[in-house]
Assembly symmetry: C2
């Protein structure tokens, strides 16, 4: 029952079988790279798999739409599930093995353990999406401890997520190196997201306001602006005046602590989040 898919690439469902396959690679001194995903793979995911291929001997991709990181009014049911084409993309990008666990495997009866990163999980995305990061940190712990990779690859687009996962691995002594790869964008600047498929044509046009707001911040900093409040206000004005956009936040934070900053800082990041129609999008860029 462990290979239910007809696919061009080796797939596995159960954790003991996954471990056996990884273990046999380890015995041959292969380094293990791991790319956890929720499927609906786009060029951003592909770039993570390619980075893993570049740096590691054996590349494992997981595909699992994790229910515990979706809120009750969020898009768990409608989240795109495109397994056949995802497997093809994994193969083309150079993965060696795709792990596709079921929900019952990840959350068996009596499951009751949660991993939580305080403070970092409570702000920004965490302020709007209650328990989202607890769902993320719990599943990422489970995925990492099932694979025990040398390196795991995450996208910079989910900036807060990768910061939280770094803190978590450090705090819990999870023996893995976290690699954060650059955000991949469409030609017009829109950050790739599996949720972009929800956007209508006019919404997609409005969604460009997120990257425009970030570019505005970058240009202001490059032009020598030191009044960060002023920049944040301009980012917010750009977003609030775009049709179909409902701003959540547009801010500038310390790259490590994610605390909002008022004066320029050697390592700072601009972060934006907004609904475009009914689709929630996020984006960010470093400002140094």
């Amino acid at each position: 029952m462990s290979e239910p898919f007809t696919s061009p690439i080796k797939t596995v469902q159960e954790i003991p079988e996954l471990r056996t396959l990884i273990q046999s690679q380890r015995k041959q001194d292969a380094s293990i790279g791991f790319v956890p995903t929720m499927g609906a793979l786009h060029a951003g995911h592909v770039s993570l798999i390619e980075a893993a291929r570049e740096e590691c001997d054996f590349v494992v991709v997981s595909i699992f739409v994790n229910p515990t990181q979706f809120g009750p009014n969020e898009d768990f049911d409608s989240y795109p599930r495109l397994l056949a084409q995802d497997l093809e993309k994994c193969q083309t990008a150079g993965a060696d093995l795709v792990w596709v666990p079921t929900t019952d495997i990840m959350y068996p009866p009596h499951f009751s353990t949660y991993v939580e990163v305080k403070t970092l999980s409570e702000i920004l995305e965490g302020a709007t999406r209650t328990n989202h990061f607890q769902g993320v940190t719990t599943i990422v712990t489970k995925l990492l401890l099932s694979c025990l990779p040398d390196k795991a690859f995450f996208g910079a687009k989910d900036y807060q997520q990768q910061a939280i996962i770094r803190q978590m691995c450090l705090d819990l002594n999870i023996p893995v190196e976290i690699k954060t790869c650059p955000t991949v964008r469409d030609a017009d600047g829109l950050a790739l997201s599996s949720r972009n498929t929800y956007l209508s044509e006019t919404e997609r046009e409005s969604a460009l306001s997120l990257s425009h707001a970030l570019n505005l911040a970058k240009e202001k900093i490059q032009a020598g602006e030191t009044n960060l409040s002023h920049i944040k206000t301009e980012m917010q004005r750009l977003l609030t005046t775009t049709p179909l956009v409902k701003l959540d936040y547009a801010t500038i934070v310390d790259a490590q602590t994610l605390e909002e900053i008022e004066t320029p800082h050697p390592k700072m990041v601009a972060l934006v989040a907004a609904f475009v129609g009914t689709t929630r999008l996020i984006d960010n860029c470093t400002l140094n």
Copy 2:
């Protein structure tokens, strides 16, 4: 700075050095046994090290008095610290390596991640000792992920603790087998505990009421008593009528869920907790 102790047994402080030592054993196909302790070792701990010695090729003991599992009014400061004699006991019992991390190593600045097992952590000990089990599950995760042993050994005396740790390892896919070893008792029946050293002579006499209450339950069950409420009441009466004893709970629960039960069950455990003077003691026995 990693071996600050003059000791008869190899000790290590830093996690990277610990990992290097364990890794070199793994390369030789040695199985790794791990016994996490808070030091102040007694014959109960020694039995865990001996069990690890019996079952594994390389035995690691950790000694760390974990601050996060003590409440603000508990005995963290006065908890016995007896490193020199602990190291001797480790050596005699057959340990290969003793890991003695500092608090700064386990909880560096900005530490903010916690592991929590819901439900099981909220009852019995958890009802009285707020956040105790969150401290335990967080540190045990850290210890296990630093060592990555094949087997880890815990004492049955802390019955709820080992049940919670089993659930946590299952839920988080921590790749370790949890072994629970029998409670070791003094000749008069008192379960060994590092906290027994706090007891005066008269308190120690009163402390025997815990094992007496458990024996009473065992005898009643063996005699065919099926009214568990009746047995619990008798256990409670025995404890509340003993001088110097302040009962917390004396109950009979399902061995897995730790839920209180009213009718006999194939797998049940009697659990008691009480202050004797100012010292909080626990004990338990299976009833089948």
